[in-house]
Amino acid sequence: MKNGISVFIAAFIALGASWCGFVLAPALQLGTAKQTAVLNSGDTYPVQRTGDATLGLQVYRANGCAACHTEQIQQTGIAFEVVLTGAGKNPDAVSNLISTLKLTGLTKEEADSANDKITAVGGKVETHLIPTGADISRGWGVRRSVAADYLYDSPVQLGSLRAGPDLADAGTRLNNASWHLLHLYAPQSVVKNSAMPPFRFLFETRKIGDAPSPDALNLPSEFAPPAGYEIVPKPEAKQLVAYLLSLHADVPLYEAPYTPVQISTNAPAK
């Protein structure tokens, strides 16, 4: 190029193009998003955090928790499952047919064809959609994370390294406040060989007063304070735990549909 101006124009075009693509367009498309509807329900999603949980997000940010934990679940596939809900008028014919068909881990076409075959002999079926992926098989979530999950987060703490487990659905999976407090104070006491550093500065060691505090942690002996002392969480610790308990991603949405697992442990009779 011949002069500084043409270099400037070249850089302007290149950076301007990606600015339009990755700053302007997402700001217009995602930055104006509002609450969305939960699939097949009247609820809206997400629900804004309140109280301690909102402050807990700032404690999460200030301590750099996103350096080791992610808050995003990934999905790599979609599987279908056909479930019999009624035997209809020919229960024998239906059960004979069922024994010859594969009913889990199907593609959409296979599910539709199984559906058609069973309905043809009078059975009543339902097709369930199940997201698949490594994170979901690990039990870290039931569906992939989407933009709606972070609508009210500021700052969004997606994380980029998993030195510890993913936390997007931590409120569903680990919904015990005292477990979280113990884990923050002495991770090695609840998770063997944990590499997480203890966050003792979020807690206060103080002399037991007239009676032990109701907040005092119930630690195993190797981690317990000396006799006469108790460990009490500071407000930051409680806020952080409230935030962790508020992390859910277990609601089906249009962008991330799935068939919720039924409340009962028994599937409808096959």
Partner: protein, 201 residues
Amino acid sequence: MSDETKSCPTPSNAEPTATRSTVPMWVFSLTLVLLFLGFVYFDHHGGWFDERVYGPYASADQLDSYQPKSGAAAAIARGRKIYESNCGTCHGADGLGKPNQAPPLAGSEWVKAKGVQRLTHIPLMGIAGSITVESQTWNLQMAAMGAALPDADLAAVLTYIRSSWGNGMGEVTADDVKAARAAIGANPHPMSGDEMMKMPE
């Protein structure tokens, strides 16, 4: 110059220059091929800028066709909400009922019956007199708690009740509720257990 660089021929103080040889053609061809392949990839995986399409869905059409239909599973989610606000206070959120208030629904033979006619009548008409549930007789009154609900909502609640707490039964459709309403006619009156047993299942 430092000792190290003395062993090298001293770089000339002249500023560096560049030759003018041309760029070989294969580099441009490679770029074009990669651009084409990239376009094909984007076509398959990009969802064409639709904000609702997330991987692994390939397009808005696919996402739309894969949506779970409002079947039993969807109704259960809805039904649960309605149950908890309408029925749970007496029958319990866990379906186990409360003594002197309401019989249990978990394991109840009225819920687990093969046919849904009797079950659909209960919330539409209410119960007066005695009714035996799981070998226990209950002599309380139930108002027609479901009479005000729209068909689909009542169907959702009943589907939820039939499939929860180990009952493991199938759905109740809005059509079932509609048929029951039609059968009841203009004058619903609460029935006792014996009266309901006279109805077909």
